[in-house]
């Protein structure tokens, strides 16, 4: 299972990359594989308030619509516009060009509570059974 060490993970299969006071968020490789080909991404508005554990975006494949939860609370400061015309980036590069949004964390220490790569791999493995 591909889960880079430098990222943090939520139980809902989002990854978080902490950059100072902000966090870049996407869905994990495991999550994109479960979804199959992504055809549409419903993105939050810039400026929207994200509440940890609450849905903030949605990723759709031909057969499923999945919520993307905010792994930490904060304010959306950027969304990945490239996903509008190329939602398949989530499949081809989930941890890179397939990032979904960036938020300014209300509590920058909150990310520390998320899983590390090792813990996430175990979590995902238990879900795939």
């Amino acid at each position: 299972m591909n889960a880079p060490d430098e990222l943090k993970y939520s139980k809902d299969h989002e990854w978080v990359k902490v950059e100072g006071g902000s966090a870049v968020v996407g869905i994990t490789d495991f999550a994109q594989q479960q979804l199959t080909d992504v055809v549409f991404v419903e993105m939050p508005e810039v400026g929207a308030a994200a509440e940890a554990g609450k849905p903030i975006a949605a990723v759709e494949s031909v057969k499923a619509v999945s919520d993307v939860y905010a792994p930490v609370s904060g304010e959306i400061i950027e969304v990945n516009d490239a996903l509008r015309d190329a939602p398949e980036l989530i499949n081809t590069d989930p941890y890179g060009e397939g990032w979904i949004f960036k938020l300014k964390m209300s509590d920058p220490s909150a990310a520390a509570a998320l899983m590390n790569a090792e813990q996430y791999k175990e979590h995902a493995a238990s879900e795939s059974h």
Partner: protein
Amino acid sequence: MAKIVIVGLGAGGFAALLAARKTDRNAEIVVIDRKDYDLMHPCGIPYAVEGAIGSIDNLKHDLNMKAMRVAHYKNYIADSINLAEKTVRAHSAFSGDEEFFAYDKLIISTGSTPLVPPVEGLEGLLGKGAFTVATPEDASRLRAAARATGKALVIGAGAIGLETASALSDMGCEVVVVEMLGGVFPRALDPDMAAILQQYLEEKKISLRLGSSVQAVRGSSQVEEAVVDGEAVPCSILVVGAGVRPNSSIAADAGLNVSRFGIVTNEKMLSSDSSVYAVGDCAESFDLIRKKPCWMPLSTIAYRQGTIAGANAAGADESFKGVVGAFVSKVGEMEIAAVGLTSQAAVDAGFDPVFGKLKDLTRPDWYPNGREITIKVIADKSTRKILGAQAAGSGAAWRVNVVSAAISSGMTLEQLSDVELAYCPPVSQTYDCLSKAVDLAIRKIK
């Protein structure tokens, strides 16, 4: 009794002849054509090279001219038209004898000629390993050459070039396709859709050189190599698939209005002379999306224009609305279809395009042997009108044909989304990929 003269018996001339006879049982109909047989099917040539239609002579087709009471002058070449006297001057290819044909109504359906690009050495090697793809004779010679030799280079990645490349490859030739523009079917496909066919060609071991051009063709008595971007590429067959040009000089010389798209026509298919019609590859068409003249050398369009002109020449009053460019090609096993504008063409025409696109299976995933298809539907953001569609894979054509109907009737995304598509598992899905693509485009605008 009306006297109708038709110059050129291809798709357009044939349709005109049928329509004229249906409209007026008594009209006197004269057909002049330079071939020594009746009809020929150019669209079958690449497939004939590959052997798909049996004998190459199956491309030729005889008509019952006697039953239709048509005076058919085979082997006659039309040389000039006198609009004031209403006559066509033609000569026999055998005797050279000249003859004048008087008309009340004239239909010009002289088709097009392959464009031979000004590449150093090419002209002199035509017929000596270098071929255009336009006649059954071309097909025979290409087939013989492909059997005898192993390396072919094709200029142009349009339908003629790619269909021929695939035929030669299936016959065991090593094939290189050289295209000046950045992708295959550059006028019909967006780069992302072209990439699907490009990958298929790669798998088929047909090598593509995009954004490249042939500077010279060399050989002492036969083609031996082509120079591509300064590099010598050995080949014994060179196929010219660089497009076609309208055969409109006979009309221009007579004083009819001719644009860069061919003979200028109105919606009655009339030229600038009220007794002369022009149809098919030699004539201009009207682009229904951009609302301006265009040129679309397709058999389907030639036939439909011919039907209108033939009927009108015999006394009817029918109109040809225009074209949206519905197109399909089969390159090896890959069916690839398109209609309307590409995303770039839409931007160039002043639209604000949005698209819905996905890759799907032609059958439900629980039903075996579904085939892959990728479809893209393009619309204008502000008016929501459908502008185009492209599809690659099994069933590409029928889906694009539905979009063709939507475009010509001015439908919006929402109206196309409402169209019911028939379903049963071995044929399609409950929610077909065409509807899915349309709905994705709608969601993107919301």
